[in-house]
Subunit: 290 residues, 2 copies
């Protein structure tokens, strides 16, 4: 999918520019940039931009929100990798932020990305109405905050060493990864000017996509190679983590993954979208190897 | 100053309510609330509300911004106290957040307060125009982010074990504590509808107040009692930190403190303010014992 690479390039440039122009301590900027440019797939901002396109509007309208979203995703990875959290040494095949810059700077780089994200959203959305900018800002804060992603990380901590039911696992993933993915699509729909019906259907689509994404992640931890996933294979098993394959069997997880992909595609078919990018992204999530 | 106690009470109630209504993991809410209700002076939000009053508008207009500001101040204390940062066991005479809830939850509670602050600002400012809400949100993000408070914390880290000049020390404090204090007063002026001249003078006032606040802090670390300041006396000396008394002598620091207070009061005299609260707060900063 050539468009993935093209969009990633545009986003990479915007993100680098946003950090470069900061009047901030050099080490802090380096730490922020290190994780931002660590080869992420840019899935969330690409979903956002592709949703705008699917509704029939110019993607560039969503650039400020897309950048903010990627900064928040990146901050969450930096804090997640800290010794007190997951204590990971590698991320995408490179040493984690705190391994390179030290724990204190890694904490601050995460804080800085989270805070700067809100400024970037507001300052880089000149073409959007004030009402929409406020709506996007508060929705992003909610999706990322205690009722969203951070809440999910806390649930994940609480669940350590416990046997989870499939519903509990789903609930944690809904918060921890689902909320930001759903925000990406909802924000794209709002910026694109989707109808209420389109908005609601796209939110349902996002739920299926988020679950599919997580199940695929769990499967990759078993079937992927270290080269592909950028960290040791089988770490979930080694850490005794509840995963879809563990709770449903590997085949059960694959069936559930296919089921969510089918439902996501069915929703897309039912909408009169202006581009096939969301469909392509759905297939990409099914087939991705990293 | 009875009004300090009254305003603190109103703010305490609003902050507690804001946490209570969250649909979030109980442990996360407890950790957020623990530090928010740890007996802080609420100096920043009180400055904000008092500035609105001084301009002649209703303080309640600024409640959303005041709460957001206190949440961001509180998150910064939680992260500052972490083992990887200042490694403090006590804050205001009570065990620090990570001592009670563990490091992982303390990191998340800080992240949650920072993120939720932006939602609170936007959702609790119904009476303000959309333009003003956006302006306050981006100004708060800038004051707290890599070009502001977080940048100052990084500079502070970089300065560890180094002998600083007085200008370097000032520059660090300007970012680390000055930017949020200045935001408090600037936000109050904007919400109150200050003229450009009033706004600029109040920003100059805020600079002096911020420096006075920090110098008083350094002096208290020498002359205060452990009961008053809630942590061991002399910890700056023990940690070999650059402080105003160390660089200027204790008497020199006191003279500089008085000088900033005088200049702050002179600015206030020159403005036709509707209340004497800012003057009272300036005296409070000079005389405070905690």
């Amino acid at each position: 999918m050539a468009f993935l690479g093209e969009k990633k390039k545009v986003l990479d440039t915007q993100l680098t520019k946003a950090i470069e122009k900061l009047h901030a301590p050099q080490k802090l900027k380096e730490a922020m940039n290190y994780s931002l440019s660590a080869g992420g797939k840019r899935l969330r901002p690409i979903l956002l931009l592709s949703t705008i396109e699917a509704i029939g509007e110019q993607e560039s309208l969503g650039m400020g929100t897309a950048i903010a979203l990627e900064m928040i995703h990146t901050y969450s990875l930096i804090h997640d990798d800290l010794p007190a959290m997951d204590n990971d040494d590698l991320r995408r095949g490179r040493p984690t932020n705190h391994k390179v810059f030290g724990e204190a700077t890694a904490i601050l780089a995460g804080d800085a990305l989270l805070t700067y994200a809100f400024e970037c959203l507001i300052m880089n959305s000149e073409q959007l109405s004030e009402t929409l900018k406020l709506n996007l800002t508060s929705k992003l804060a909610r999706a990322a905050g205690p009722e969203g992603m951070v809440g999910g990380q806390q649930e994940d901590l609480n669940a350590e060493g416990k046997e989870l039911s499939i519903d509990q696992l789903k609930a944690i993933h809904h918060l921890k990864t689902g909320r930001l993915l759903t925000f990406a699509i909802e924000a794209g729909a709002l910026i694109g000017g989707a109808s209420t019906k389109e908005l609601n259907e796209l939110k349902r689509f996002a739920e299926h996509l988020g679950l599919a994404f997580q199940i695929r992640d769990d499967i990759l931890d078993i079937e992927g190679t270290e080269d592909e996933i950028g960290k040791p294979v089988g770490s979930d098993e080694a850490n005794n983590k509840s995963t879809y394959p563990k709770l449903l069997s590997l085949q059960g997880a694959k069936d559930t993954l296919n089921d969510h992909i089918d439902q996501a595609l069915t929703i897309l078919e039912s909408l009169n979208l202006k581009s096939s990018r969301l469909k392509q992204l759905t297939h990409y999530i099914l087939d991705r190897t990293n």
